[in-house]
Amino acid sequence: MQWLERHVPKLVLAPSFIAILIFVYGFIGWTAWVSFTRSRLLPNYDIVGTIQYQRLFASPRWEVALNNLFVFGVLFIGISMILGLLLAIFLDQKIRAEGALRTIYLYPMALSLIVTGTAWKWMLNPGLGIEAMVRGWGFENFRFDWITDPKMAIYTIVIAGVWQASGFVMALFLAGLRSVDGEIIKAAQVDGIPTHRIYTAIIIPSMAPIFLSAFIVLAHLAIKSFDLVIALTGGGPGYATDLPATYMYAMAFSRGDIGQAAASAMVMMMIVFAIVVPYLYSELRSKHD
């Protein structure tokens, strides 16, 4: 009986622990193994060295995908955070119908990225969407054809991504703003400190953990972005809007080049680690203090 009492927690956790061990870490290990082989249609297990990584970094398409990830990641995270923060601050001004407005801004997050991508594809199509509409109003020289321009197309993904995510960031920040101790704010107001100073000097600095959470959520959304690109541009024009995830999919499922797909998946995982590990480190350390 005592034995059972002591071991029940372990027994209860064991199945999920084993499942995670196999299906997450086991398959990461499998992918790592395959990335060192010459696997094509089916995986084979003869290790041949780093040829897949050499091919990967010699591929101009992978270079485009990494550059796009950088551009998209920085702009998507940056703009979503700034917009989300501003919206949260505006909503925090004790305005009327805050509940309704909050729902409206949060709603895009409820849509799947496929829907967002398809809707924006039509809006951004120069012959059907915004350009055609503004021209219809009489501005004949108006141009907004980013989606067909290989140099600008990646920014259309940023637009759609920001539209989708900034409401969610707003909700995070709003919760953060509300959690700041009201007494401190009142004390500042009594001292005659202007509102914008209250925000920049007191409230925002005390929200640092929220910034970190928002950053982590947005960063992993950016890295695994796949459906948005597929729906909005299909990776095109050409492969101008390819991201690492769409590259990996093309290699694994369209081209029968599993070794190459595994190598790109491993690189993607390392990018995620580069972001998440410092976060975990700081989290774990702060608990020991």
């Binding site: 094509r40 249609l41 089916l42 091919r55 010699a58 591929s59 101009p60 398409r61 594809k121 199509n125 120069p126 012959g127 059907l128 054809d145 989606i147 067909t148 290989p150 541009t233 299909g234 990776g235 095109g236 024009p237 050409g238 492969y239 101008a240 093309a250 290699m251 499922f253 369209s254 081209r255 029968g256 080049d257 190459q260």
Partner: protein, 414 residues
């Protein structure tokens, strides 16, 4: 009494069931799930059932076959491959090298496939000398489709050289008509590209560049001229072309918004479905230059165990190349029969033109596999070339840069 009858009935049905189990069995993995294609597969199913077989359908729609390939990979890895799988081109040999394809030479020899199939197409169905797949149809890829009314109104004949095409396109552009209906998807860019390679370089150059991946051919001035022509043609498409599906481009030709489309003969199905008549509403001709690019669908036969499964596989192979299925399927799908001994009375004029030119080019040695549709090269190589073609078409890259990128990409994909 009643009990005895019930018992007898159930015994009879059991007998029936076990008889059916002993008959030929086939599990068929394919992605023909839409309209005419689904009807065409149903024809094969009925024939199979009429010969006493049990057909287990395994349609996997989506992604132009990507989803089906994922399903196939899972089935093969678990040691439980389907009887027959819709596969084409070098993918058949790739699967053969994985050691999972069956030998159906007995059927092929009994049916005389060697004599009724064009030699280059027969080559795709053989793996190291043994027959391992059955061909279903022939799509021609190097077609140019045109709106007849537009051409007549602007006094333009079907172009027979790429200069004529360019001249016609400029004339149309001056008249305010989009010359080329095109969808900016990588495979469509590649389709246009390969017709230009064939037209400007000729069959031998096509073979050297896109089948043998010969470095000299890939870096030659001819290849630069091909990219120059692609750049010219980029100017002939409208500004909304990015990401457009091919059937929407076909509709542009149908509705008189554009004059030409370069696309395989599945585009004909769109015209016919809209009630258009070849020769009256729309025109079909091969793209400028000699040769014939084919896209042949086929079923690869996987290794199965058990007599009923092997019997089913052989019956299936026999029926696929059989006269009835070849005719009915291809009338539904818009392609032409792969066997050259069929009467083509029920087919339209474009199909008859296609069949005649297939026979002629087969004798002249210019019947060639389409690279853009996965007939000429393995997935990784074809994909690497398509990346360059679409990157060039959708940017301001120079032809010299494109040729250099092409060589690097091909080397990197091997």
């Amino acid at each position: 009494m009643t009990l005895r009858m019930t018992l007898a009935a159930s015994a009879a049905s059991l007998c029936y069931a076990s008889v059916a189990m002993a008959g030929p069995q086939a599990e068929v993995l394919h992605w023909w799930t839409s309209g005419g294609e689904a009807r065409a597969v149903a024809v094969l199913q009925e024939e199979f059932a009429a010969r006493g077989g049990t057909w287990t359908d395994m349609p996997v729609a989506g992604g132009g076959g990507d989803a089906a390939m994922t399903a196939l990979r899972a089935r093969v890895l678990s040691g439980n491959a389907p009887t027959a799988v819709q596969l084409k081109g070098p993918a058949i040999q790739e699967w053969y090298e994985e050691g999972v394809l069956a030998d159906i030479s007995a059927v092929a020899e009994a049916e005389g496939w060697e004599d009724i199939l064009p030699a280059s197409i027969a080559g795709h169905m053989q793996c190291e000398g043994v027959w391992c797949a059955a061909p279903v149809n022939v799509h021609r890829v190097d077609w140019v489709w045109a709106n007849k009314a537009i051409l007549e109104a602007n006094d333009i004949a079907m172009p027979t050289t790429w200069e004529e095409f360019n001249a016609a396109a400029e004339k149309l552009q001056a008249a305010g008509i989009t010359p080329l209906a095109h969808g900016g998807q990588a495979w469509q860019d590649a389709t246009v590209f390969e017709t230009v390679v064939l037209g400007l370089g000729g069959p031998d150059f096509f073979r050297a560049a896109l089948i043998d991946l010969d470095t000299d051919a890939l870096t030659s001035d001819t290849m630069k001229a091909v990219f120059d022509q692609m750049r010219v043609m980029r100017g002939f498409v409208d500004s909304n072309f990015s990401g457009r599906d091919w059937n929407l481009a076909t509709a542009m030709v149908m509705n008189g918004e554009a004059a030409f489309q370069i696309m395989g003969d599945w585009a004909k199905g769109e015209f016919l479905a809209a009630g258009k008549v070849p020769g009256e509403d729309f025109l079909c001709a091969s793209t400028p230059g000699d040769g014939y690019l084919y896209n042949v669908d086929s079923f690869a036969m996987f290794t199965v165990s058990g007599d009923d499964n092997i019997a089913g596989q052989q019956l299936l192979a026999e029926l696929i190349v059989g006269e009835n299925f070849q005719k009915v399927f291809n009338l539904n799908k818009g392609s032409i029969p792969v066997r050259s001994d069929l009467a083509l009375d029920d087919f339209d004029s474009c199909a008859i033109l296609s069949a005649n030119e297939m026979t002629a080019t087969s004798e002249a040695g210019s019947l060639l596999p389409s690279y853009a549709h996965g007939m000429a090269l393995r997935g990784a190589q074809a994909g690497a070339i398509t990346d360059v073609v679409t990157a060039h078409f959708n940017s301001d890259m120079s032809s010299e840069e494109a040729v250099q990128m092409l060589v690097d990409a091909v080397a990197n994909s091997l």
